[in-house]
């Protein structure tokens, strides 16, 4: 047999997370992800997935890029550079946004945290680090603002799952929270300290569960990881790799850059029309193209569900009768739901929920129905 995932890279150019030694010690398998050697799993993808749904998982996502935007014009600059209205974001609030190119295509999806009147942290996908930094730097011309790529200095740890808050509250060394975690709403953040080192805690994530993302200096990452895992033991916290992160985000209907999002995709096609603020004053990059729209024949992102166990996967064509009407961008046998799920771009005429389509799974047809995204929604939307 052969397996399709990339074998571990022996490439010396590959980047290592500040937590690499911890993962090796924990027996992780690694995969190349956007030039980083990151844990794909520690023991079992499914066990890690279920732990996040029922208890909690801890992820190293230090490969993500952290870009600082600072200066008196920071908010006005981001209103111009990004699709959202960042000037309307309250200090300590976070906002999911998009970096568009002039044609309305997506350079990256990202999260911006507002630290102060004049400072933001923009968190981008690892694979788009340089594209985002270059675009922001280029667009900063004429604004009184400084754009800094601070990625190498940061570690980023995500704790995700229904027990996450209890785990953070029980973690030794996390002190001086600006706001108690119980009062921290989804997509808000607080500053704190970990053993005297500045720590940023956002109630954000990429799993569809309650959870937090913790940013701190790379030098302190190992100690924070150890403190979190020690505190989390009695809550069922397990280390979780990128394999489970992918099935978790897919169930939650969250797009992945390079799969659901790309330069050839306008936000409205991906169901992200609400992320683009057309009512904000002034111009922003991509505005004209977005106002024109992607064209009537543009494909749109839909959810597909099927029976049985054979999952459609990225790149598999989707048919209505004999006509190819779309292509899958992400798909898997859903660990939580027990049946195959997929996200796919399909022709507008095949996009209504309830439409019966077929997926070509390596030469044989599997019946699938169009459903609304997300596939999975947690019951308790606390925070």
């Amino acid at each position: 047999m052969t397996d399709s995932p990339a074998d571990d890279l022996k490439n010396s150019d590959v980047k290592h997370s500040p937590l690499h030694a911890v993962h090796e010690q924990a027996g992780a398998s690694f995969t190349d992800f956007a030039g980083w050697l990151m844990p794909v799993r520690y023991s079992s993808d499914l066990a890690e997935h279920h732990a996040v749904r029922t208890a909690a998982g801890i992820f190293d996502i230090s490969h993500m890029a952290e870009i600082l935007v600072e200066g008196p014009a920071a908010a006005a600059f981001l209103d111009f550079a990004l699709a959202g209205k960042l000037s309307a974001v309250t200090i300590t609030q976070a906002k999911y946004s998009l970096l568009l190119d002039p044609s309305g295509g997506i350079i990256d999806d990202l999260v911006a945290y507002r630290f102060g009147d004049d400072s933001f942290l923009v968190v981008a996908n690892a694979g788009n680090r340089y594209a985002v930094f270059e675009a922001l730097s280029h667009r900063a011309a004429g604004f009184d603002v400084v754009v800094t790529d601070a990625s190498d200095g940061y570690a980023l740890i995500a704790v995700q799952g229904p027990r996450s808050r209890e785990i953070l509250e029980a973690t030794d060394g996390i002190t001086d929270l600006g706001k108690p975690l119980a009062d921290l709403k989804y997509y808000w953040s607080t500053d704190a300290f970990f053993d005297g080192i500045p720590l940023l805690i956002g109630r954000t994530g990429y799993t569809g569960e309650d959870g937090f993302e913790l940013y701190l200096g790379a030098d302190s990452a190992e100690r924070l990881w150890a403190a979190l895992t020690t505190a989390g033991e009695r809550y069922g916290l397990v280390p979780a790799g990128l394999a489970s992160r992918d099935t978790l985000r897919l169930e939650a209907g969250m797009p992945l850059y390079g799969h659901e999002l790309g330069l050839d995709t306008q936000p409205v096609q991906a169901g992200l029309g609400r992320v683009v603020n057309l009512t904000k004053e002034g111009d922003f990059v991509g505005r004209q193209s977005i106002e024109r729209g992607p064209g009537d024949d543009a494909r749109v992102l839909v959810g597909l569900v099927a029976e049985g166990k054979r999952a459609g996967r990225a790149g598999y064509p989707v048919f209505a009768g004999d006509t190819e009407v779309g292509i899958i961008t992400s798909g898997a046998l859903s660990p939580t739901l027990g049946h195959p799920i997929a996200m796919a771009y399909v022709d507008a005429g095949s996009s209504e929920p309830g439409t019966e389509l077929q997926i070509d799974v390596r030469g044989s047809r599997v019946a699938a129905s169009v459903v609304p995204i997300p596939f999975y929604k947690r019951e308790n939307t606390n925070g």
Binding site: M1, D3, S29, D45, K309, A311, L333, P335
Partner: protein, 123 residues
């Protein structure tokens, strides 16, 4: 569980246990580990004819799809229904209860020894 050192191997990360004219075939622990949690297995039915090197089945994990190649020419005499019902057996016991098919053959091709296969995987 069969002793891994007594088995023969293919470059496609399959193991072969020869008993008379019947070869029992499975995937190696290395392959199962690389695939991750296996959630679906599609095997050829008993009675079907298989040709060496041709794809005869599929092994899917949450992350990816692996193909099962026939390591010999012959006729499938059994496929493991327990694995179809519980694909996780391939992860938990790849050299034992996770076997996939039994093929009756007339001639055995050249296969890898344990040492040769270990050299291939570097483990």
């Amino acid at each position: 569980m069969a002793d891994a050192k007594q088995l023969q191997y293919t470059r496609e990360h399959e193991w072969v246990l020869v008993d008379g004219s019947v070869a029992t075939v499975g995937i190696t622990a290395y392959a199962a580990e690389k695939l991750g949690d296996i959630v679906f297995v599609d095997l050829p039915q008993a009675g079907s004819t298989v040709a060496e090197g041709k794809v005869v089945g599929e092994i899917e994990s949450t992350k990816s799809v692996g193909e099962l190649f026939a390591p010999v020419n012959g006729t499938v005499v059994a496929s493991n229904e327990a694995v179809v019902a519980s694909p996780e057996l391939v992860n938990s016991d790849p050299f034992g209860e996770g076997w996939l098919i039994k093929v009756e053959f007339t001639e055995l091709p050249e296969l890898l020894s344990f040492d040769e296969y270990s050299a291939l995987t570097g483990e």
